[in-house]
Structure formats: structure tokens, C-alpha cells
Symmetry: C2
Subunit: 86 residues, 2 copies
Amino acid sequence: MEVLKVASQSNPNSAAGAIAGALEQDGYVEIHAIGAGAVNQTVKAIAIARRLVEKVGEPPIKVVPGFMELSIEGEERTGIRFIVEK
Amino acid sequence: MEVLKVASQSNPNSAAGAIAGALEQDGYVEIHAIGAGAVNQTVKAIAIARRLVEKVGEPPIKVVPGFMELSIEGEERTGIRFIVEK
């Protein structure tokens, strides 16, 4: 199962392309984002990806955001896990 | 139709309560956020609201993010519109 990691410096168009590709291939993709900037880029990327994968008359893609706990360099961080389904 | 406006200074727990209340009442809520901080607070609020409204064995709530164009004090701004459905 592919996991995409989006950072605050990620290009939303590039991330959208990766999301759209994963949705076309698997119908499902998981995205991890840590920090406000990364979460914002992820949401923008998902909004752009909708334009790439949604066909007229089809229902929109579904997004389910949740929290995830991570340990980065020994520090506990809370991130956001987005599950995106076509 | 209720529209919730979330700002970067919004308390995610309070916003989550408002989202959960609207979902319990209408099964649907629209949320507007402008800027990275506001988008991040909205996503956190939705993740918290899931804990308030999702019952065991039920599917998760669905979120559909999209862009919206706004004019604020004569300036064109792009915001994010979240449609949340139970």
C-alpha cells in the first residue's frame, strides 16, 4: 500500500499528480502530513487531484482525515493521516 | 444550510463540537477556511469530530475539499470549502 508524504514545501500540483495516479491505479491512497503547512498543501493537492480523476456524473472522491502519532528523532509528534478513496 | 467558518485562531475542539452538532442534526455541514492555519485547524476539527459522531461498525464520515473564490475587502482570495457528510 502506497503512502505519500507531503511536506510544507511540497508542490501541490506534483502531489496532486501522485494522488491522482495512485487513485487511478489502486482506488485508494494514504497521505501523511506533519504541521500546518504540510496539512494545507495536502488539502490543496487533494482538491487539485479531484479535477484530475473525477468524471462528470461520478460521485466525488472521499477523504477521511485522522490523527497519527509518530516518533521523529526521538520526539513525539502528532500528524494527520488522510485516507483518500475514489 | 449551515456554513461554519474556521479561522487559524479557532479552537479545534470548539469547531469539532459545532461540526458534530451539525452532522447529528443535518447529516451534512459545509466549512470555509482561508489560509494554511485555518485549513489546518479545520482538518484537526474534523478529525476530532469523527470521535464524537462515528459509532462502532459505522463507516467514517466523508470529507470533500474543494477550492472557492472569495472577495474580501475588494481583494480576491482563494479559500478551501470542505463538505462533510455523515
